[in-house]
Symmetry: C2
Subunit: 451 residues, 2 copies
Amino acid sequence: MNDEKLELEIEKILNFIEEKKFNDLRKYLENVNSADFPSMFEELEDGQDLLVYRLLSKEQAAEVFAELDSDVQEKLINAFTDRELKNIIDELFMDDTVDLIEEMPSNVVKRILNNINKTDRKIVNELLNYPEDSAGSIMTTEFIDLKENMSVEEAFAKIKKIGLQKETVYNCYVLSIDRKIKGVIDIKELLVAERDAKLKDIMDTNVITVSTLEDQEEVAKMFDKYNMYALPVVDKEARLVGIITIDDAIDVMQEETSEDFEIMAAMTPNEESYFKTSVFKHAKNRIVWLLVLMFSAMITGSIITHYEEAFSALPILVSFIPMLMGTGGNCGSQSSTLIIRGLAMDEIKLKDYFRALWKEIRVSIVVGIILAIANGARIMIQYHDFKLALVVGLTLIGIVIIAKMLGCTLPMLAKKLKLDPAIMAAPLITTVSDTCSVLLFFQIAVAILHI
Amino acid sequence: MNDEKLELEIEKILNFIEEKKFNDLRKYLENVNSADFPSMFEELEDGQDLLVYRLLSKEQAAEVFAELDSDVQEKLINAFTDRELKNIIDELFMDDTVDLIEEMPSNVVKRILNNINKTDRKIVNELLNYPEDSAGSIMTTEFIDLKENMSVEEAFAKIKKIGLQKETVYNCYVLSIDRKIKGVIDIKELLVAERDAKLKDIMDTNVITVSTLEDQEEVAKMFDKYNMYALPVVDKEARLVGIITIDDAIDVMQEETSEDFEIMAAMTPNEESYFKTSVFKHAKNRIVWLLVLMFSAMITGSIITHYEEAFSALPILVSFIPMLMGTGGNCGSQSSTLIIRGLAMDEIKLKDYFRALWKEIRVSIVVGIILAIANGARIMIQYHDFKLALVVGLTLIGIVIIAKMLGCTLPMLAKKLKLDPAIMAAPLITTVSDTCSVLLFFQIAVAILHI
């Protein structure tokens, strides 16, 4: 929904409240999509949000609650009676309950746990114990399980009975007595099958599963690759303990992409949104890398000091430094971005290193020569100095090759060392290539210009 | 599937081929996931791939075909008889057929169109006419349509009859006689409803739709926001003409993210994968921005020339240039990355500009002071020169503030001008902030050191 529509919607709601037409408001809210409530709640005043929330049906209330930002959730819980809290928790899916508990301060968590029924509390505690960012921590335990000797008709009867409490009915799992997966049935297969067919004859026995401890990034990749709608999660004994649905996988993808963007811009990744993060948190996330890179850049500075004689003899040399450093940095970040993204998308693998390096070298030569010619032409026009044009041109070609080799090598080296390739992005590559650029430039200048 | 498993799988397949055990191979292939075939085909020799492909069942063949890279698809089509080609095309979903036609050279397209039946050809031609990257161009026309007066039982009967030919049965659409959407039914609702209930009583009338001309990026955002599994696409007369399924939306998300990464690293975005792109195409994608940025960086160079006197008097000044430029660039790219990502995720809106700017200014002051102190300490230790420490420190604070303001402002300005904010990323921000850095540095140096 776009902004204007939202404003219109809020205006209407405020009107209902003002005129105390709560029944009309209740009816109106039934047709508002759950996903639109978070931005709406931001615009409502304290008290109004609680009023609106209390007008929702039990089912919609849980759906909306799961969508809200954690600070709004906290505010609502604090305003809830225990009964209201219990109603919400009962309606929430397990994975949403776990997300909620992970976000809330301890006093709120205590209240939540007090209002969960005993069996659910046990499950929640188990889910909370999975490592952060593992498949276990994002799965839900509400899936449809069937038996292989059931007929299609019997399966339909079971789904009709329990379907509403399950997060998805699109995929049903056929389990053995000891809860191991024997097969999966897409609801489409069930719907087109004959009513008296046995599940064991229509189920797909080739089931893709993940372990509870699998990294969530790998989970997201599997969804992308296999076009699944839900992924079963199994424990060490290969028993089905939960499923991950595609909407949660999309959230993981977005989260991991944001993380990559942040790491690639030399920041500590941060799960909170931009405005929810305090100024000091922002500063803290950014300062570490800035300090590291600042001190690294001093190496380049000291190289320059080393060539003081050269640029004292020919001060014009200094004016080329920004252009050379800039071009090297840009070339390096182009390559590293492509390699990092390629690794993340599994398009580039570690064994492809030499193939990628050879590609980068050839690209560098083409790009380097074009840049050298463009720059040479400009130097000839401006300074009529062929030797200077030669120095700058050769340096450019050298820098482009070095920068692109660095941009290709460092991310793959990081991957090899089991580090996140994203740390080897523009900022680090630029700093390293700056040092190389200045060194190469003065070496070539001294050799050709004899200064 | 990881690499070792894949190698094992290929080894087995090669063994079957060598021993001419084609029946065993056929059975073995039934249990290989369609998504694993593309990487497998890369490892097979010419002829072997065709052999393997011909052993697949008609249904699996179509599924596998849709997953393959376009160069493999082309090779297979050229080896197919017309009958084989017709079989594949008949089994492919409309959106996959359209994708295929868009990728193939004209002689292959001609053969494909000759082997499509008349009604399908008309639909394909309509789909091909939608603008690139529009909702119409990625939708499929195979969805389940029901009527509001049908009972649940009748709906099941219809789904049983036509379900297999439809891309998804998870969402069914209730249409009026003139094919306008009256409601949507999640298959879960249908499964838990009483058999004699009327669809009009259980359908959800609050349907989110997009127009055929909507940008695919907006489509992907809607999936992310509304947790849908399929999105109905309507024409100008509000008639349902197709649906977009979530797996295609994920592909769009990944494609758009890759595009952002490439634009943010100063490259022309490229839909082909890294290794599929030729050296010259790579060079072409990278050279334009490199030239623009190289010439822009010369402005910084000419500013330095302007202050020749200053650094001839105090050559040590030059050695601070890389560190100052680097820090400015890094600060700017941190901010621009957060803003660009925030805009892409709709977490930051244009109306938030001053709020974001104010946040960046406060973060800059904190970060700038820390960097200035760290650097000042180092200068005092190394050179025992308070005035120099003051010059560098003040410059640092100024640069951080300017760079972060640029990083916040330029992407939002681009968005305001309906340009892609991603072009205002690190490379451009760095080049602009470099100029500011050098200018500020020499201004402060001249003022304080009186050189």
